[in-house]
């Protein structure tokens, strides 16, 4: 995650990604081809990064506007 330096390992990312997508049970997710799993995790991770960047930008803007 940008700014904080927090990093997760792949298996934790997998757990988070399953929850985030919300359309898979764990066994359904694991039944997907590994490549598809990796892509879904990548999308989740990018979304997480985007949210972090946006939150930081919003907080800066609030601070600037007093």
């Amino acid at each position: 995650m940008p700014l904080s330096g927090i990093q997760y390992n792949t298996s934790l990312d997998l757990e988070f990604a399953i929850q985030w997508w919300g359309i898979y049970k764990r066994e359904e997710f694991e039944a997907l081809p590994v490549d598809t799993q990796a892509r879904l995790i990548a999308v989740y991770k990018l979304n997480r990064n985007i949210e972090a960047v946006l939150a930081k930008a919003q907080s800066d803007e609030i601070r600037r506007n007093g």
Partner: protein
Amino acid sequence: MTSVTGSPRTVEGADAEPIAGSILTALTTALERGMISKEDVLKALGVKRQSGRQAPPLPTFLFKSSGIEVKIRKMGPFTLDEIRLSMQRSPDNKPPSPPRVQVNYGTSTDPQIEWEDNPADPQYKKDLVDWQAAQTEKEGRQFIDTIVRHAVVVELGEDELEEVRHTRAFLIGMGIDKENIAALSDHEVYVKHVCVKNTDDLQRLQSEVIGQSIPTEALVKAHEDTFPSPVQEKASEGLAGAPLWNPI
């Protein structure tokens, strides 16, 4: 429409129906009386019986870099273990031996000299590290070779063979040892040099073949890299309403 084919003639339509009915009745009777077996009937009709459970079709794999689709055979942990062990058992895989040194267990006046291995020898330690590194690289190469030879299933037609001929000529033209290229089968040239065009494809292939259930960090990273927008640089634009990333 019913038709009965046989020597000396073929009968079709309404004429054939009573004949077909008679044949069926005769066959049923013969079967019931044990005069013929089901196998005889199937053999006469040219039907091959499937023995045992039918094998599932091989899964397909797409090399994204070249757009070529192949079939793959998965390799289980026992197969992988056997391959790893056979590599380790190979006679030319012996680690370097430590130098032998004389050790005096007695005194200077009453020496008791024995020869012992000296694993602390600096040159030996360096040789061992080099051997381990070379071993890891060798195992990696042999593993990829095994995947290419055994796990990738592709039929080489005339177009594919033409591509192989062209690739062989290209590699030799690039100065690669002719004997090395000649040692590769057409299948190996096609998979290694025509199908695989980047390392991501190779990682994906390995993951699929060894049936990994959890994607590796490298594979996730490879997918992350396919999204081109540098997120942090565009944060301010994002607040202004510009899209930050390319949705799948």
